[in-house]
Every structure is written in C-alpha cells, then in structure tokens.
Symmetry: C2
Subunit: 103 residues, 2 copies
DNA sequence: CACTCACATCGATTTTTGTCAATATGTTTT
DNA sequence: AAAACATATTGACAAAAATCGATGTGAGTG
C-alpha cells in the first residue's frame, strides 16, 4: 500500500520553475544561499521557502556553516526520486487491455 | 538553455494524489475511463481533467475507441520523465563548493 | 554586551490547482 | 433523425501554493 501524499512530495519539489532553476545552479556544486539569491529574481524569504521544500524532498541537502547555509544536490535523494518515478510507472504482469466496454 | 515550464509540466503530472492512484491502476495495463471512474471517488469531469494533465505530460497515452477512451502508461513517456529527472539532478564538473562566504 | 548579518518564520495577498454541476461534443443505437 | 451514452469543456468555487514585507532567531563581530 502506497503513501501517495509522501510520493507526491518528491515530485512537488520538481514542479516549480524557480526550484528547477535552483537545481540547475546546484548542479555545478555546493552553493551558499547568497549565490542562489543573487542569481534568481526572488526575495530572501521566498528562497528560504523553496529551499525548505527541496530539502524536505530529500533531493537537496543543507549544511550550516556559521551564519551561512550551504546547499547541494543529494546523490542519494536524486537516485531515490528517479527510482520512485520508475516504480510508479512500471507495468506489471502482461499489461493486457481491459475488456469492460469494448467487449 | 532549458525550458523550465515544460520540464515542470512532467513533474506536475506526478504531484497529485489522484493522478498517482490513476497511474497505479494503469500499471496493470490499459484501462478505459469507466474503470478508472469506478475505482476513484471523483466526478467524471474531474477524471477528465486529470487524464488531460497526464496525457499532456507524455506519461500516459490515450486511444479512442468509439465513444470510449482507453488510457495506458507510455513506456517512452515514462522513460523520458525518468531521464529528465536524472538530467536535472546530475552534477557536472568536479562539483566543488562555492567560496563566496566562507572564504 | 550591543550590533550586524544570514537565514527562518509569520501574516497577508495573489496566483495556481483541484473539484463539481451543468453543458457541449461526438459516437452508437434504435 | 432522435435518443442514449461516454467523454470533454466551461464556469464557479474551494483549497493549496507562491510571493513578499516584516519580524524573529541565532551566529559572528566590534
């Protein structure tokens, strides 16, 4: 039995344009919030909001260092997300048609 | 240069509980709308709305047959989605830290 | 210890998404 | 051609998500 709400959370992280932009930046390696903020046209509170969603999904991990926050793509989290996607769309059995209507 | 809106569309298809339930049903093979409708506690118009989103994402394909509509998971679409996820989270270069703050 | 700086949280607002009933469209059957 | 049926679309509304300014929190600095 699946927890659809939990599964959906992972993909919610990926369905906002700004969060995809953030990931694009993080693909180059770990970045601190100030870099992200200067690259995106959003306010500081909005960035914080998005980073929370990305971290909660497991795709991004954070590392506090003094008063700065560093963010990076999590290889494990990304892999889990990709595996989840594959699972959710994998056919099982022989996948024959239903015969409810066109019988 | 990426089209984030287009990329996001794929994942939007996966971030609603009802759409994940629909996919779970379709994993067993092609189904017509009436089967989906009877399995889910949603109205006919709501089902139609969700199917449109799933089809637009490429993850599901539809096949009209007379007055009935058959839906199935698209292997190609699913694969593209999984590849997209991998791309969007793939690190490039050596992925070293930024040195903007903690210099 | 007061001050500053970076980030998180809160409250309010706007935008987007999901939902349904009603209606339109298109197909089959009589 | 009309009736019946399956699905799509529309319009209205409710719920959720994104955004920002203001404020709170906690770490470094003078």
């Amino acid at each position: 039995m699946r927890n659809y709400a939990e599964d959906a959370k992972v993909f919610k992280a990926l369905c906002d344009e700004n969060r995809l932009r953030i990931l694009e930046i993080l693909r180059g390696g770990e970045k601190c919030a100030c870099v992200l903020l200067s690259d995106l046209q959003i306010s500081q509170s909005t960035l914080s909001y998005h980073m929370k969603i990305l971290c909660d999904s497991g795709i991004v991990v954070s590392r506090p260092e003094g008063k700065w926050m560093h963010y990076a793509i999590s290889k494990e989290g990304s892999l889990r997300a990709a595996q989840l996607l594959v699972e959710l769309t994998a056919l099982y059995g022989d996948g024959d048609s239903c015969s409810c209507c066109n019988a």
